[in-house]
């Protein structure tokens, strides 16, 4: 049974984690102070607005399985990861059966059963609940308890990757009793429950001031008698990233600071104070330029930035986008703006490592001459002597937009300067995030309307299956006025071959074959010049030198193994 075999090293790993913490008794380590400068506002991940809420909730609420720091799935409240081989996944790929660990208790002393899992699924799948994780339950037909410790999730169609529901920090199990009155439209009004959910995790919430501070103490019914190490945990919110970094690295007021996207030089200087260390971890997030392959000229009216409006005067030519990509010095960009939080990349599917294609790595080194040659080849030269290339009366001037964010503005400034060197002019725009990422149909400035030539943002996919992510560039996902500008195919890329290959991916089960197809899809996107990847972005956090056991994890909650954390005295 090869798949069971696959998880043996993991079991060994958790045993070793146990032994390191074996000296520690439950609650012997004192207080732990964490700083989340984007303060948590609500602790129910199903209604939460992002990691700032779901991470603090992960101390309390747990899923059936998590991803560890290498991205591997580990059983958490379940006994094992269901697979085809161990019979957990049905042969027709239409259902998955989870067996729960026995004897797990909620922090109020009641027993954790399959009914809680069923309840949670129904809670989120109710269309009126405002649940934000509905995408995790796509195609789920029914969730049922076969016995108090067995849950079967049935899908309406074969699912080669059935690990979306109840895997990861965003989809933990809620207590059925506590949330019984919070179904449907009531979900949003259950303030008491949403602010202090009861969980199975190592800690329970004692006090929560939304937008300010969460205080926890040990869950008396936690399954491991020796854990957690720290008696009391405080997650403090508010301020900004530099203040949080200073509080850990320079003044030592806090033990752990989350999400420190700061100027590398500033962070480096703080590090030199010697009180703490910076840890980073890379997930699937890639900061990329989206290239508008359609014409965004304002004169086109309703056909603006749609395929009906025709192709872009120069960006639809892959030579031009290749030249733009070659003109970028990604290493310098990372030195200046990202530091530990970035690595250069030329693939939009840059992680997990097994999926990274590497076929496009030619763009990693800046080559201005090659870029100029490519543009010359494409027929774009400076005929009127104004320093900007042109052809047939069209000059190479681009509008480049992104959201307001210091790192993004730095990137914009740098790219503009490099492109000026190859004779391409750029006009910069920074739009407030609430508008840029907002779904307001009446605003011309959303990333989906894309009334510009280039735009920049980060996208990622949770977990480690890229299929839904690669689906973003199917022809059907192009935002248009007809579909209310929804869909993630922002470059308006449409290639029947790509769609055909995607369909094939959807029916492929073997992991090696899935990897090969995914790489091929990535390369198609890169060669068509639909996207220009810039930086593979990581998460950066800092912890005090005295804190031990931190295993920075970008695939799940950074606090996923907080029960194992100890203090070196």
């Amino acid at each position: 049974m090869p798949s069971v075999f696959k998880y043996i090293p993991l079991a060994a790993l958790s045993v070793s984690a146990l032994t390191t913490a074996a000296y520690a008794e439950r609650g012997s380590q004192g207080d732990l102070n964490l700083i989340y400068w984007q303060a948590p506002t609500l602790l129910n991940p199903y209604l939460a607005s992002g990691p700032k809420d779901s991470e603090p909730a992960s101390l309390v609420l747990e899923p059936l399985a998590r991803h560890d720091e290498t991205g591997k799935m580990v059983p958490w409240l379940a006994q094992a990861i269901p697979t085809l081989d161990n019979g957990g996944i049905a042969a027709d790929l239409q259902s998955i059966t989870w067996v729960l660990k026995p004897g797990i208790m909620w922090s109020d002393g009641s027993e954790f059963t399959a009914d809680d899992v069923v309840f949670t699924a129904n809670y989120c799948m109710d269309a009126e609940s405002g649940c934000q994780m509905t995408a995790k339950f796509t195609d789920v037909e029914k969730v049922e308890a076969l016995d108090p410790h067995t849950v079967k999730i049935s899908f309406s169609k074969p699912k080669p990757y059935p690990y979306a529901p109840f895997v990861g920090l965003e989809v933990p199990v809620l207590q059925a009793i506590q949330f019984a009155d919070c179904m449907g439209p009531n979900a949003l009004n259950c303030s008491a429950q949403n602010l202090a959910p009861i969980g199975t995790g190592p800690y329970q919430i004692t006090d929560f001031k939304p937008g300010d501070v969460v205080t926890y103490d040990i869950n008396p019914h936690y399954r491991d008698a020796d854990k957690p190490g720290f008696t009391k945990v405080i997650i403090k919110g508010g301020g900004d990233a530099s203040g949080a970094a200073r509080a850990v690295l320079e003044t030592g007021e806090f033990d752990y600071a989350w999400n420190l996207q700061l100027d590398p030089q500033v962070l480096g200087q703080m590090k030199s104070a010697g009180k703490g260390q910076v840890v980073s971890s890379f997930g699937t997030a890639v900061e990329r330029l989206q290239v508008n392959l359609t014409n965004s000229a304002a004169g086109l009216g309703d056909a603006r930035s749609t395929r009906d409006g025709g192709v872009h005067p120069f960006l639809a030519n892959p030579r031009v986008t290749k030249a733009l990509s070659l003109a970028i010095d990604r290493s310098t960009l990372i030195d200046i703006a990202y530091g530990d939080a970035g690595r250069p990349t030329c693939d939009v599917l840059a992680a997990p490592a097994i999926y990274a294609s590497g076929a496009n790595d030619a763009c990693l080194t800046q080559d201005l001459d090659a870029a100029r040659a490519l543009l010359d080849e494409a027929g774009w030269t400076d005929t009127d002597g104004d320093g900007i290339r042109d052809k047939d009366g069209v000059s190479m001037t681009m509008l480049y937009q992104t959201s307001v964010n210091p790192v993004r503005q730095t990137t914009q400034d740098l790219l503009k300067a490099w492109w000026a060197e190859i004779g391409v002019a750029t006009e910069l725009r920074a739009i407030a995030p609430a508008v840029f990422f907002g779904g307001d149909q009446s605003s011309p400035d959303t990333y989906q309307k894309f009334y510009a030539d280039l735009e920049m943002f980060t996208n990622f996919f949770p977990g480690n299956d890229p299929e839904p992510y690669l689906n973003n560039w199917a022809c059907a996902s192009i935002p248009t006025p007809e579909n209310g500008w929804s869909g993630m195919n922002v470059p308006r890329y449409c290639d029947p071959d790509y769609d055909a290959l995607l369909a094939k991916l959807g029916n492929t089960v073997g992991i090696d074959e899935r990897i090969a197809i995914s790489k091929q899809l990535n390369d198609m996107l890169m060669q068509a010049g639909a996207l220009i990847p810039l930086v593979h972005r990581g998460e950066v956090s800092a912890h005090a030198n005295s804190l031990e056991g931190v295993r920075m994890n970008v695939w799940d909650s950074e606090l996923w193994n907080i029960a194992d954390w100890t203090r070196d005295k």
Binding site: S242, E250, Q265, V266, I336, Q409, L414, I431, A432, P444
Partner: protein
């Protein structure tokens, strides 16, 4: 309230009193210097604001970069000169708008009896507005729409100027109304009215010249107020965008680099302080000079 006898006194008296106020003289002089610097400075200074130089990042002060450089190697002195243009322009235009509205409302309320009550209620209403929260909300929510309509810099400029102007005219209106009411009781105005001078002529020939002093004082203090407000908005990240930095914005951007290059926050902050201080001193001096009782300070 300022006494108007001052305006009928010979101008030499005004100048003598103004010159006696050392702070005002120095303030006026420095203010003029700052205006001159931001006006012609960017033309003379060899570095352009916003010119990236990746090899000269986060430098301390030197001869070629007297205020150092930022994280992209841009010269801070050039940025401060350029930023000052925007800051001071915002201050002047917003102050102009505020004075215009204030003067119109104040004089109308003073001159036209039936407009007095409604206009003063309107003034009360505006005084009851929570200005800073309202400014924040409006700018946060509207800046991108206006940016789309008028272009990057013009949009936010118009919004900020309009919002500051619209929320700061009330004091001027109140003071002017009181002045006009007091003037209307004076003999020469009564005489002019008796002689059949039309209201508009009365305003132009008798009222306006007599309230000019009050308007000038209000304008100077309004300039200081507008600059502070704009800087505060920019400091909260809700003013001018990073690609068109004002002093407030430079200060805001500099706070992240406090430990590395404190100059990035200190210089723009000093410039705001200096300008506001000078404008306040100038306003004080002008008021004292216009008021023969002297030395009354701000009321």
């Amino acid at each position: 309230m300022t006494d108007l006898l001052a305006l009928n006194a010979p101008p030499t008296g005004f100048w003598r009193r103004f010159q006696r106020h050392k702070g005002a003289v120095i303030g006026g002089g420095v203010l003029a210097l700052i205006l001159l610097a931001v006006l012609i400075g960017p033309i003379l200074w060899p570095h352009a604001a916003g010119q990236i130089n990746v090899t000269a990042r986060n430098l301390g002060p030197s001869l070629s970069h007297p205020m150092g450089t930022d994280h992209l190697g841009r010269d801070l002195f050039a940025a401060v000169l350029q930023g000052g243009r925007v800051t001071i322009l915002v201050g002047i235009v917003a102050m102009g708008l505020s004075i215009l509205i204030g003067a119109a409302v104040g004089i109308l309320a003073g001159m036209v009896r039936w407009l007095d009550a409604p206009l003063m209620r309107l003034t009360d209403l505006f005084l009851a507005l929570p200005v800073l929260p309202l400014l924040l909300v409006t700018i946060m929510l509207w800046r991108d729409s206006l940016r789309g309509l008028f272009g990057a810099e013009a949009g936010i400029f118009l919004l900020i100027v309009a919002m500051i102007g619209l929320t700061s005219w009330m004091q001027t209106a109140r003071i002017l109304r009181a002045e006009v009411l007091a003037l209307k009781k004076r003999e020469f105005v009564t005489a002019a009215t008796a002689l059949g001078l039309r209201p508009w002529g009365l305003i132009r020939r008798h009222i306006l010249p007599n309230v000019m002093g009050v308007i000038i004082v209000s304008a100077t203090l309004g300039l200081a107020n507008a600059i502070i407000t704009e800087s505060a908005l920019s400091f909260l990240g809700l003013g001018f965008p990073p690609d068109h930095p004002t002093w407030g914005r430079l200060l805001f951007d500099g706070t992240e680099y406090l430990t590395l290059t404190p100059a990035r926050a200190i210089w723009p902050g000093l410039m705001i302080t200096l300008t506001v201080l000078c404008a306040n001193y100038l306003g004080d001096g002008l008021r004292d000079a216009l008021d023969p009782r002297g030395g009354l300070g701000r009321k």
